[in-house]
Amino acid sequence: MDFPLELLINAIIAGVLLGGFYVAVTIGISIAFGMLDIVNIAHPAFIILGSYLAYILNAQFGIDPVLVGLLMLPVFYVLGAAVYQVYYLSFEKRGQEALRGLAFFFGILFITEVALVLVFGVDYRYVEAAYIGPAVHFRFIDLPYRLLIPCVLALAMFTALQLYLGRTFVGRAIMAVAQDQGALSLMAANPIRIKRIAFGISIATAAMAGAFLIIIQPVEPSVGREYIGRVFAICVLGGLGSLPGTVIGAMLLGIVESITATFYGPSWAPAVSFGFLLLTLAFRPAGILGR
C-alpha cells in the first residue's frame, strides 16, 4: 500500500489554516484566563453571538462578515467591560469567583445558547460572500479562501495584540496585572480598570472569531460547546498567559485534528482536544511556553 503523501500534506496544510482560525477563537481566552485568571467558560457563547450578528447583517444588508466583525469590535468591547464590572462587583470583590463566578459564566453560556435556539431555532445558518467556495490551487495543494482569509486575519489580530501588549502603557499594565496586582496599584494604575479594559479586549476578539467561524462553517447555537474543550486545551497547551504559546498550541491542535479527521473520520475530531488537554495537564501543566 502506497502512503497517501498528497493526502497527508493537504491535511497538514488544512490543519495550519484551521490552526490560524483557532488562534482567533482562543486569543480572548488567553487574555481572560491566562492573564486575568478569569475562567470565562462563556467565551464560545460570545463567539456564537458574533456569528449570528454576522449572519443577520449579512442576510439583511449583504454586509461582508469580516466587515461585520470589525464593526462589532467596539460593541463587544463595551459588552465585555460591562460583564467584567458585574463579575467584579458580584464575585471578585467578595472573593467568591471560584465557585459562584464559574456558575455565573456557565449560566451566561447556557442563557445565550437557549435564547439563540428560541429566536433562530436549531437550523444551521450561513453567510454569503464572494470568497466562500473558490480556492487557490498549487499543483496538488488546495488552499480554500474560506480558510485562508480567517487564518491570515487571525494572525494579523495576534500580531496587533502582541504589539499592543508589549509596546503601550495599558498593554504592559495588562501583562503586569497578571503577575502582581498589588505592585501595579503602586505604579498608580488602577488594576480594576486595567482588568476591565483587558476583558473588554478579550470579548472584542470574540466578534472577529464569530465572523470567521460562520465563514468557515454553518453555525447553529450549540456549536459553541465543541469549542470549550478546544480553546482551553490550546490555552493550556501553549502555556497560560503567553500569546505566542497560544499560536503554537492552536497550530498543533489544528494539524492533529485535521490529520485525525482525514484518516479516521471527522466524528472523532472533538476527542483530540480533550486528549491534548489531559496529556498536557498530566505531563506538563505549565504548557509549551509557560513559565
Binding site: 456557565f106 437557549v114 470549550i228 466524528s267
Partner: protein, 317 residues
C-alpha cells in the same frame, strides 16, 4: 444517635410518600415524580463536591450518561435486575470520576472545572461512534408493563419510582453523614482555604478524590435506571445540557452549605419545570433555570437557605 433518628425519619417520610402515591391512580404523577427524585440525587451528588469542597463539576451530564449507557451495555451483554445495574452504573461513573480527579485535581481548581466541561463533549463523541450501544441512532430498551415483586404485580413505572425514591434517600443520608463526619470537616477546610488546610496536614488530594469519586458514582447511579424510564436512549437525551445546568442550579438556588439546600432546590425547580414543560415549552423552562441561576449567584449567594437564615437573624435582633 441523632443520625439514626434522622435515618428513621427519612425512611418514614419516604414510606409515607410512597404510601400516598399508591392512592393515586394517575401514572403521569409517577413519571413526573421520578424526574424530580432523579434531580434530587443529581443535585445532592453535585453538592458533595461543589458545596462541601468548593470544586465545580460541569460534567454532571457526562456522569449521568455514563450510568445510563452502562445499563444499555449490560442490558445487551448480560441482563440483570435494575438494582444491580444501579450499582454497576455507580461503579463505572465513580471510576471515571476518580481518573479525572487524579489527573486534574493536583492543579489549580479551575482546571478541574474545565476538564469536566470537556469530558461531556468527548464522552458524547465516544458514544456516538460506538455502535454496540446504539451509536448516534440510539438504543431501545423495552420496559415490561409490570414486575412481580414478592408475589405482587406492580406497574413498572411504580417500581422505577420506588427505586429512585430509595436512591434519593440514600444520597441525602450519605450527604448528611458526610457533613457531620471528619470527612465533612476535611472537605470544609478545602473549601475555605486549601493552602492552609494542606499546611496543617489535611490530606487534601485524597479528600478531593474521595469527594469526586463519591459524587460521580451517585450521578451514575441516578442515570442507571434512566434507559428503562425513557425506553429509547439517544446520546442527545443522555448528555442533555439540562442535567449539567440543573445539577448546578438546584444546589446554588437552594443553598450549598448543607444537604437541605439541594433538596429544596431540586424539589422547587424540578416541580416548576414539570409544570412549565406541560404548560409552556421545554426550551423556555430551561431558560428560566439559567436566568434563575445567574440571578441567585449574584443576588443571593447562599441560596434560599441563606435568605431564610438572614431573615431569622434579623428577627432575633
Amino acid at each position: 444517635m441523632r443520625s439514626r433518628i434522622f435515618i428513621l425519619i427519612a425512611l418514614a417520610v419516604a414510606a409515607a410518600f410512597f404510601g400516598a402515591s399508591q392512592l393515586v391512580a394517575n401514572n403521569y404523577l409517577f413519571f413526573a415524580g421520578y424526574t424530580v427524585l432523579q434531580f434530587i440525587v443529581l443535585a445532592t451528588a453535585w453538592n458533595i463536591l461543589g458545596g462541601y469542597c468548593g470544586y465545580v463539576n460541569f460534567g454532571s451530564a457526562a456522569f449521568f450518561a455514563l450510568g445510563a449507557y452502562s445499563t444499555v451495555f449490560f442490558h445487551k451483554t448480560f441482563p440483570m435486575p435494575i438494582p444491580v445495574l444501579i450499582v454497576l452504573g455507580g461503579l463505572v461513573s465513580g471510576i471515571v470520576g476518580f481518573g479525572m480527579g487524579y489527573l486534574t485535581l493536583r492543579l489549580r481548581g479551575s482546571f478541574f472545572a474545565i476538564a469536566t466541561l470537556a469530558l461531556a463533549v468527548v464522552l458524547q463523541t465516544l458514544i456516538v461512534n460506538w455502535d454496540y450501544v446504539g451509536g448516534s441512532r440510539g438504543a431501545y430498551i423495552i420496559r415490561p408493563n409490570t414486575i412481580n415483586l414478592a408475589g405482587y404485580e406492580i406497574p413498572y413505572i411504580e417500581y422505577l419510582f420506588f427505586l429512585m425514591l430509595a436512591l434519593a434517600m440514600f444520597a441525602i443520608i450519605t450527604a448528611r453523614t458526610i457533613e457531620r463526619s471528619r470527612l465533612g470537616f476535611g472537605f470544609a477546610t478545602i473549601r475555605d482555604d486549601e493552602l492552609a488546610a494542606e499546611a496543617s496536614g489535611v490530606p487534601t488530594l485524597r479528600l478531593k478524590l474521595i469527594a469526586t469519586t463519591l459524587s460521580g458514582a451517585l450521578m451514575g447511579m441516578a442515570g442507571a435506571p434512566f434507559p428503562y424510564y425513557i425506553g429509547f436512549l439517544q446520546p442527545q437525551s443522555a448528555f442533555a445540557l439540562d442535567y449539567a445546568v440543573n445539577s448546578i442550579a438546584m444546589p446554588m438556588i437552594g443553598g450549598t452549605g448543607s444537604w437541605i439546600g439541594p433538596l429544596i432546590g431540586a424539589i422547587l425547580l424540578g416541580t416548576i419545570q414539570q409544570v412549565a414543560t406541560v404548560t409552556i415549552s421545554s426550551a423556555v423552562n430551561v431558560l428560566i433555570v439559567g436566568v434563575l441561576l445567574v440571578a441567585f449567584v449574584i443576588i443571593a449567594p447562599n441560596g434560599l437557605v441563606g435568605l431564610v437564615q438572614d431573615m431569622m437573624r434579623r428577627e432575633r435582633r
